[in-house]
């Protein structure tokens, strides 16, 4: 009985060890798959051929061990070595690829650095040019301001000279030229030579300042009726107006008013005062043509 058991045991060992097909090894199967994938990857075959060959050889040894029906742990051990060799091939391919990538990237970076420096230089140049242009513009602006100021000063000086020539006064209503009683025929509206000379000066002024207009206001003293004084003052203002028109001043520019006895400038109690009140005031507008109303 024991003999037959032992015999069976021996037979069983022999059968398992050296007869029939080899038992499948899970790690070997996995390694076969992994190797086929690595072999068919173009970049691994190209950039890690030696490592891939090592993996192939290790796999062949594992297969052989299995075909020879070596112990499972022996087959597994060889399959493990092959599996790691496949991984080494994959990682080697990655390493070589990234070494190439670094070279390319470094070359690209050099190019881009050059580009960056160029762009920076161009930007600096643009900035410098802009600054120059701004400086030129500022200078031109300052020059223009200076010229304008000079022109304004000249105009003011001319005006002052003209006003002096005109013998007008600057009042709160603007320039006022006063034509006194002596410039008119006594109690009449006719202008005497002196009055006409004053008108000439006024015409000259109005020709030089074509934007300005005039308001001619006539006044009398208290002697006589309000009505007749009003009429006289109006006639005197109209007389001055006509003289201006005769000398070419546009009628649009000339207005008249007769105030009669109103707005005396001196006391009507003395001959001198009365003479002062008998006057014509020519109010000259500003250079927009505006004349403030009489207060």
């Amino acid at each position: 009985m024991l003999r037959s058991v032992l015999a069976a045991l021996v037979l069983a060992t022999v059968a398992v060890g050296c007869g029939g097909p080899p038992a499948a090894n899970a790690l070997l199967t996995e390694t076969e798959t992994a190797y086929l994938e690595a072999e068919s990857a173009p970049d691994i075959a190209r950039s890690a051929p030696v490592a891939l060959a090592d993996a192939r050889d290790a796999l062949a040894r594992a297969r052989a061990a299995q075909a020879e029906k070596q112990k499972p742990e022996a087959v597994t051990h060889l399959a493990y070595l092959a599996r790691q060799r496949v991984r080494i091939a994959e990682e080697t391919a990655r390493l070589n690829a990234s070494a190439q990538d670094i070279e390319r990237a470094r070359a690209e970076r050099q190019q881009v650095q050059l580009e960056a420096r160029t762009a920076e230089a161009e930007a600096a140049q643009r900035s410098a040019e802009a600054q120059r242009a701004a400086a030129v513009a500022a200078q031109a602006s300052a020059e223009a301001q200076r010229v304008a100021a000079e022109a304004a000063l000249r105009r003011a000086q001319e005006l002052a000279a003209q006003v002096t020539d005109l013998q007008a006064q600057l009042t709160n209503r603007g320039l006022v030229l006063t034509l006194g009683d002596v410039l008119f025929d006594t109690a009449e509206a006719t202008l005497k030579t002196g009055g006409l000379r004053a008108v000439d000066r006024l015409v000259s002024f109005l020709n030089d300042y074509p934007q300005r207009t005039v308001l001619i206001e006539g006044f009398t003293d208290e002697v006589g009726s309000d009505e007749s004084n009003r009429a006289l003052s109006e006639r005197r203002a109209a007389s001055v107006r006509q003289a201006l028109l005769d000398r070419g001043v546009a009628s649009l520019r000339v207005q008249t008013r007769g105030y009669g006895e109103a707005f005396p400038v001196a006391s009507n109690g003395t001959p001198e005062g009365r003479q002062q009140n008998r006057r014509v005031e020519v109010v000259i507008s500003d250079d927009t043509g505006a004349i403030p109303a009489r207060q």
Binding site: L81, I88, S98, A105, A119, A123
Partner: protein, 126 residues
């Protein structure tokens, strides 16, 4: 009890074992393999595998330790296998570490290119 046919049985067993198992390697050769494994581990360490391929490096170290223990216990076959596995694990750790480092270097250069391009864009926009 009848006598067992010891000799044929023993012979058969020896034949089976001889046919289906490898021979016992000598201790000296295994020691050399273990030294090779340690050398491979040292190289992997130098390549910063502890940082970039820690699992693979740890596997290599553990197997080398186990190989040493097996060798000391006279288990030369086991020691030889463990040494061989420790070596291949260390090689994998080394190449993986170098690969990781290299890829990081590429990314760094690419990042600097991106930064430069942004600078160019800013310069051009004025």
């Amino acid at each position: 009890m009848p006598l067992l046919p010891v000799r044929p049985l023993a012979l058969a067993s020896v034949l089976v074992l001889a046919g289906c198992a490898s021979s016992r390697p000598p201790a000296g050769a295994v020691g050399a393999e273990l030294d090779a494994a340690q050398s491979a581990i040292a190289q992997a360490d130098q390549a910063s595998a502890a940082q970039h391929a820690p699992l693979e490096l740890r596997n290599a170290r553990q197997k080398a330790q186990q190989a040493r223990a097996a060798l000391d216990a006279g288990d030369t076959e086991v020691a030889r296998r463990l040494s061989a596995e420790a070596t291949v694990d260390a090689e994998l750790a080394q190449v993986k570490a170098r690969s990781v480092v290299s890829q990081a270097a590429v990314e760094e250069v690419r990042e600097s290119i991106r930064a430069l391009r942004e600078e160019i864009e800013r310069s051009r926009r004025g």
